[in-house]
Point group: C2
Chain length 340, copies 2
DNA sequence: TTGTACGCGTTATCAC
DNA sequence: GTGATAACGCGTACAA
């Protein structure tokens, strides 16, 4: 590959001059610039970012460490981060942990060896003390932004996450405002912090409204469409008198809705369904869902802002983002709901 | 950060010795190795991969350039590539093009500046001549693997893709075998190569069966659930006598299915719906779809194999992977279908 | 306005 | 077994 040296020789100038021209230094004559630039593009010069970085000690490299991309919820987050990184002139490493602590440690070490200037991490939830690699990261003072609900041991690092409890409370509140009194909650696995937060929001809204929480209305659903479908059928089977359903996420909500539709129960005329938005809602224009859209994209943008501040040496800050309520369709309880 | 030099000083040996120890060279005494290693880990030494790469001219860096991760179809592909890269000791850059040619060119140049050793690209479909950046890539002889259906101008690069025509043909064939004679095809945008391939497969199956292709049965649908929904309604409105629907992808299929359900037409009792699988099918256990599952994960693995061969200087090779037909439920045409 | 000397952190080579 | 020297490609600092 072409080096500055090659250009310098053919242009009969010093390497330094070429270097300056290509970085558009102010102290080079227009004539020299034109000549060198022409030559550079003719020769197909490609700068060597790593060599430059070695010299300047600035790599403009960031790392993103996530469990895996299969969860579509991360997709927009990745997009946002990559997009901001692009605009700021950073290149982004992607690494998966597959929820394995050893692998997490290993990939972090590898990115350290690449001299990344900062790291975005969705840590693997685990109990106990702070893993060695995290202690090392704080010793190194490497800018690190934790994304989403963080385990205990990440307390020392800045965190960017959505306020899931409030979001969930607002959904329930919205359904209550419409006059619903028996709202089913389709919950997820109890180890998942965000599932717990969403259930907590539901509980708080009911308490704030001075209502009892009827535990029979809280169904263990899981996190996929099929889980929601089964729970939807269960709601019908058990004749719980439900007029609205709130789900831990919108896959579950869509599943529940499908179950209702399959039994010829109309949504939203007979029942309202609410869930948390993820990528599917964009595709589900016709589905009458009330959703709290977790601002994944904004979350990515905020995470990058926090990162920038860290890079500039400013003190770490946490960001909690409000989720926005998106009301696609929702109705007050209807007479037909006795059918459920 | 700690450098070899720092360790060397404290160990009273030369930098070279430290370097050799850390790379486990055979010509260093066990005693020296033990001493240096202890010191290195005590001092928290992190190797500088970029500096080493500058010297060895091997960066062990790969780039992945895709339109965007929002399409969940890419998720498993990314996973597979990242996973293989991890095992082979490569780090992976992720870059988005957002379907913008300028941006594609720009990010490719940036990754070139990083001296990536190879590039995986999902090129932006566009007509006309080979864009300058691609010519440059072939001039540079940079190992490049094109993922998925490739535009014309990528003909010179090795390609790893699913055999979409055969997959589509098999779906149609399956529906024909069941006795369906009027199969609607919900097509996508005509610029999308994979949409065209799938339509072609449908056509071939009909031709192979000695049947005429009725162009009224080919509907321009788009690529999302809502598009499928509209086309589903259209099929009903137009009374086309359809007993089965094949869609360009499963989002469209699901949309069409929703439309049928909303009009109380049972699937698959009254009609069969077939589409291409992506991540949604996993979530749609209850949906009676016949799908051709594009082997995204295997596709990633194959792509990395091709890349490895290129890196070893072997000649480029194309890989076409068979898609597997997944029959979730499907029926022969029923009497009711006159309703459509 | 241009050029020289040196260093960034590492490794290849070869002498000791 | 170990170490001196040079080089990878580039940029900072300063001299000319």
């Amino acid at each position: 590959m072409v080096r500055l040296k090659d250009i310098a020789e053919r242009a009969h100038v010093s390497i330094m001059t070429v270097s300056k021209v290509l970085r558009d230094a102010p102290d080079i004559s227009a004539a020299t610039k034109a000549k060198v630039r022409a030559l550079a593009s003719e020769m197909g010069y490609v700068p060597h970012a790593m060599a430059a970085g070695l010299r300047t000690r600035a790599t403009r490299l960031l790392g993103l460490i996530i469990p895996g991309v299969v969860n579509p919820v991360y997709a927009r987050l990745i997009m946002a981060l990559e997009d901001r990184a692009y605009e700021l002139g950073f290149d982004l490493f992607l690494a998966h942990t597959l929820e394995k602590p050893e692998r997490e440690e290993f990939v972090i070490r590898r990115l350290l060896a690449r001299r990344v200037e900062g790291l975005f991490v969705i840590p693997i939830p685990r109990l106990g003390d702070q893993p060695a690699i995290y202690s090392e990261l704080s010793r190194l003072k490497l800018p690190l932004v934790v994304l989403g609900p963080a385990p205990e041991f990440c307390a020392g690092f800045p965190r960017v996450a959505a306020d899931e409890i409030s979001a969930s409370r607002e959904i329930t509140q919205h359904l209550l405002d419409l006059g619903h009194r028996r709202i089913a909650f389709l919950s997820g696995r109890s180890v998942c912090p965000s599932a717990l937060a969403r259930l907590e929001g539901y509980r708080r809204a009911l308490r704030d409204a001075g209502m009892e929480v009827d535990d029979r209305l809280i169904l263990q659903a899981g996190s996929g469409i099929e889980d929601g479908f089964q729970s939807g059928l269960e709601i019908i089977r058990e004749s719980l008198g439900v007029t609205a359903i709130q789900a831990v996420n919108d896959l579950v909500a869509i599943g529940a809705m499908n179950a209702l539709l399959s039994q010829h129960i109309r949504v939203p005329e007979d029942v309202s369904v609410a869930g948390f938005g993820n990528i599917l809602t964009a595709e589900h224009g016709r589905v009458p869902l009330t959703t709290a859209r977790e601002p994944k994209f904004r979350l990515g943008v905020a995470a990058m802002e926090v990162m920038q501040n860290l890079l500039r040496g400013k003190p770490p800050e946490n960001r909690t983002l409000r989720a926005e309520l998106v009301i696609r369709a929702s109705t007050a309880p209807a007479a037909v709901n006795a059918a459920i």
